[in-house]
Symmetry: C2
Subunit: 454 residues, 2 copies
Amino acid sequence: MSEENVKYLLPESDIPTHWVNLLPDLPGDPIPPLHPGTLQPAGPDDLAPLFPMALILQEVSPEPEIEIPEPVREVYKLWRPSPLFRARRLERELDTPAHIYYKYEGVSPAGSHKPNTAVAQAYENAQAGIKRLATETGAGQWGSALAFACSLFGLECEVFMVGSSYDQKPYRRSMMETWGATVHRSPSELTDSGRANEEHPTGSLGIAISEAVEVAASRDDTNYSLGSVLNHVCLHQTVIGQEAIAQMAMAGEQPDVVIGCVGGGSNFAGLTFPFIRDVLRSGAKTRFLAAEPAACPTLTRGVYRYDFGDTAGLTPLMPMYTLGHDFVPPPVHAGGLRYHGDAPMLCGLVRGGVVEARAYGQNETFEAAVRFARSEGIIPGPEPAHAIRAVLEEADAAKQAGEERVILLGLSGHGHFDLAAYDAFLAGRLEDPEFSAEDMEAALGRLPEAPAIA
Amino acid sequence: MSEENVKYLLPESDIPTHWVNLLPDLPGDPIPPLHPGTLQPAGPDDLAPLFPMALILQEVSPEPEIEIPEPVREVYKLWRPSPLFRARRLERELDTPAHIYYKYEGVSPAGSHKPNTAVAQAYENAQAGIKRLATETGAGQWGSALAFACSLFGLECEVFMVGSSYDQKPYRRSMMETWGATVHRSPSELTDSGRANEEHPTGSLGIAISEAVEVAASRDDTNYSLGSVLNHVCLHQTVIGQEAIAQMAMAGEQPDVVIGCVGGGSNFAGLTFPFIRDVLRSGAKTRFLAAEPAACPTLTRGVYRYDFGDTAGLTPLMPMYTLGHDFVPPPVHAGGLRYHGDAPMLCGLVRGGVVEARAYGQNETFEAAVRFARSEGIIPGPEPAHAIRAVLEEADAAKQAGEERVILLGLSGHGHFDLAAYDAFLAGRLEDPEFSAEDMEAALGRLPEAPAIA
């Protein structure tokens, strides 16, 4: 046993030099976003009021790889390459022949994968002479990451935090303030979008996005920053999967199935897109499994349509699985997964059958998380706990089949700010909200007028 | 800049195989602990009701190195070797010629250095057939570490948590419970020691120790576990310093000064003892600097005397700097530093002039911590924030002298459960309690009858 590796570490020199852009490898022509007013394909100029041109060019780039600016790689060195673990203790606990690996992004200062893109976005905005970034945050992971990144590049940071998370996680707010950010509870009184949603006191990501976009659009020195969904955000996260490929090679194995949680999709994209590129090019048989909450089951129950990214309808229309842009999910503790849509690139892969999706209830998710904590030590965030639930299913399937399958899990962050949720679970006080047929009918009725997608 | 290393990582195979026992290298004869009843030197048998014999033998061992059991090294692989960072961003922020390095123990599942000994203690107790460990915790770091370690070796864990920390940090309690531990607020109604201290509702480490010792002494299947002070605890922490020596060699530098915070002393011992052994053997000029809170200034204001380790006087008398065994420090946020005494080995080194000590107020400490967080990203625990304060002073001294001095900081843990304290600091609501002449006079009056120390 003493000679068995538990983790696989890469040196700083192996931090990727490029991000992987999956766009040119996807089959068929890209489906463009539409301008919310004209319903015509939205071009770079339509995004210029919100984003610096360097990020807009990344958003639409046809290049298969995009170089990572050296100052961004320098910041990545604070925590990257992140470790890949072999979950030997969990395997023994499950008595499974499966080999379970997990790529752990909780080692970043903000505690999740989010700084991978926050640092890139803060850098490009600072280069463009922008003074302030406005954003939303659900669980607080994204707001923390952007606050951290802004502190390193001398930018101000203004965060609209979804009301239910603001109340559940006061210390996420303190964390953002420690890094120098300003935090508002959303819906707030500061914006039209906030004032229009007073009847939703728990808030939603969609509302908070509208508030941040409104602030950014109204000030010349302020840009907007999004923590998921968009192509350039998925792009920045691909450092995860590239490192994981190198680390799995160190371990001498190839994953049979790669599993991650999905809120807006950037964590899942970051882990899987480099693997998916290899699969698309080689025809390999790797499976990809996206885990989402039953209370907000975008990929498993949503419809594939053009919809807005935010509640107020300020963003371009994007082709995606959606529960309707003004759907307000129940306040489950996986705040980072409470989003009505998903990254268009990921939705295309689900539609094309490359990625499977499953939805899990809140209690079964926390049960999996506690099991993981008591064997592997790390207390997972509620978001990746959904992926852990899927890992337990896959490990059991391997046991039933008597096969030594290789499972790779994306453990996107720790749960240090989610212990009130663990407390509720351990006390039997956790609810299991479901998405109902009535919810679905209402969602369909709220979809905007837009062209059908071929 | 792109070729500069930010961190220095060792492979799992470089986790130390032995702990460093400084005892045989210390000048003069060891000063024995005394039995609390007879005042005669306490032997291994006196400790047998509380500890397994394997740990007692480590406590009194004359061997310079003690082999680490393989199952303990296996668990260490979950986070060890821990990273050594070069604080290049902090150096630029301070505009200092000093080279600042920090050894970061916050990567452990419990978030501090404490699991280094918790795992070793849980393992030896499980080997000895013990079913349950009882312990105290101040900031919650130690209780979390022992809860984590017990979950890996199938032991029950019962934690008495100092009242002020229990109130300030509810999520530390949830963390321990997630790993399966039972947590009591101290002083509790469950023990004589707890009931006798109802007039101290904020509690103290001394009271909580008495409660845990009482529980362990009264049950055959239960042992006591201490997170600091004792020789075997300092011993287990020396994996930190051994790794740091190897990592500083990778960086091609030797520290001119090594800085850590001191509560009971195990963190400081773990980082410095391997370096101190080299200094004692070679006569090198390295300085060692211990940072403690002005509200509980054991090393800088205490008297060097025999005193009890706990409030009720249940433990052996130990030779140490003490503020009196029933001193109840003000409820500062560095809960892990609220202890009336310090590790006897460390106290001997302070008395012998090998280690310097300095005390810092709460606000200047948090000011240093925020400065660190905004440059290096990591939000430090309030305990190591004291050491960061000392680093800022040393970096400034290097600047004044125009010298390229090498500073090594022990960053013993993160502050993810201390953000209420950061919140209070940022809002200007943090108090700065001082230790007064009246406190000192009262402490001297409470010291037990015991032989003078030569």
